[in-house]
Symmetry: C2
Subunit: 151 residues, 2 copies
DNA sequence: CTTGGTGCAAAAGATTTGCACCCCC
DNA sequence: GGGGGTGCAAATCTTTTGCACCAAG
């Protein structure tokens, strides 16, 4: 954890930004809740528990900054809010998501499943792929089992 | 075109909704600008040209309705607005997009490139895929060529 | 009549911005 | 002492909602 904060600090410094206490508090929340796809409001409330003086605007500004530096990915699952997802260290791509339309849960897939598809896009469309976002909508294992039991 | 309107009319009727003049005007705009990924505001302004008495709320309600019936797909490219995309007739899946990070253009890929990937998700994660959304971010052919020339 | 659909204006959210202040090199 | 960063409140922007009214069966 400390190691990852150090790493982010370096990335900020490389672009002449500082890791202020507010930014650090925000990053810590993101690290602690890495699997959680938090909204800006979620992050704000969690940061506020530890650092009550922080403002919502600062959280927005921090999330925006981290997104620009590709430390964070801004995603949108179709409810009205943006959610934020730490990019895995060293990952050159956004990871994928499985969104359950029954219970709303979100699972992550870290494997890159799209290498072949990217080659096709590159060759057949002449499009130079830099990143991708892939979300599957469907029914998760738990909900499938629940349905079977209920029947 | 008329044929596609008829088809949509039937789909509405099948769910006990009517194809009112306002809805028809909205659908016509969507058909005319099928490749364009319009926002609700865009649609509203275009419909207003032909039917000036229409209200923005009605457009929102129509787009919402058509999305629920899967006639339309609601997508989000990360700018603050939802955009709407007519589903190709008979397509069971959302189609894919190539978003150029240089010029902002959006190309569509109708082919389903994800059949193999879906099988993997189904088998390895036990997730029953109902739909997917895939967007590639990168540099389109035109912008690549422009860069080469400029160098 | 009664129900679904509409237009308008107000409301509700999410996000951004203006500004005074503050801390650090 | 100048610039980046912050907190607060106000502003902005998109989308939703309440309500009175209208049209068709």
């Amino acid at each position: 954890m400390e190691h990852r904060i150090e790493h982010i600090k370096k990335q900020l410094h490389a672009h002449s930004y500082k890791l202020t206490p507010q930014r650090e508090a925000t990053v810590r929340v993101l690290l602690e809740r890495e699997e959680d796809h938090l909204s800006a409001e979620d992050v704000y409330l969690l940061v506020k528990e530890k650092s009550p003086e922080i403002g919502l605007a600062t959280v927005y500004r921090t999330l925006e900054l981290l997104s620009e530096l590709k430390i964070l990915d801004k995603i949108n699952f179709g409810d009205g809010v943006s959610r934020y997802d730490l990019r895995k260290e060293g990952a050159k791509h956004f990871h994928h998501h499985l969104v359950c339309i029954e219970c709303g849960s979100v699972e992550e897939i870290v494997n890159d499943l799209l290498e072949d598809v990217e080659k096709i896009v590159q060759n057949d469309w002449g499009f130079e792929v830099k990143d991708h976002r892939l979300t599957f909508h469907g029914i998760c294992k738990q909900c499938q089992e629940a349905t079977v039991k209920a029947t």
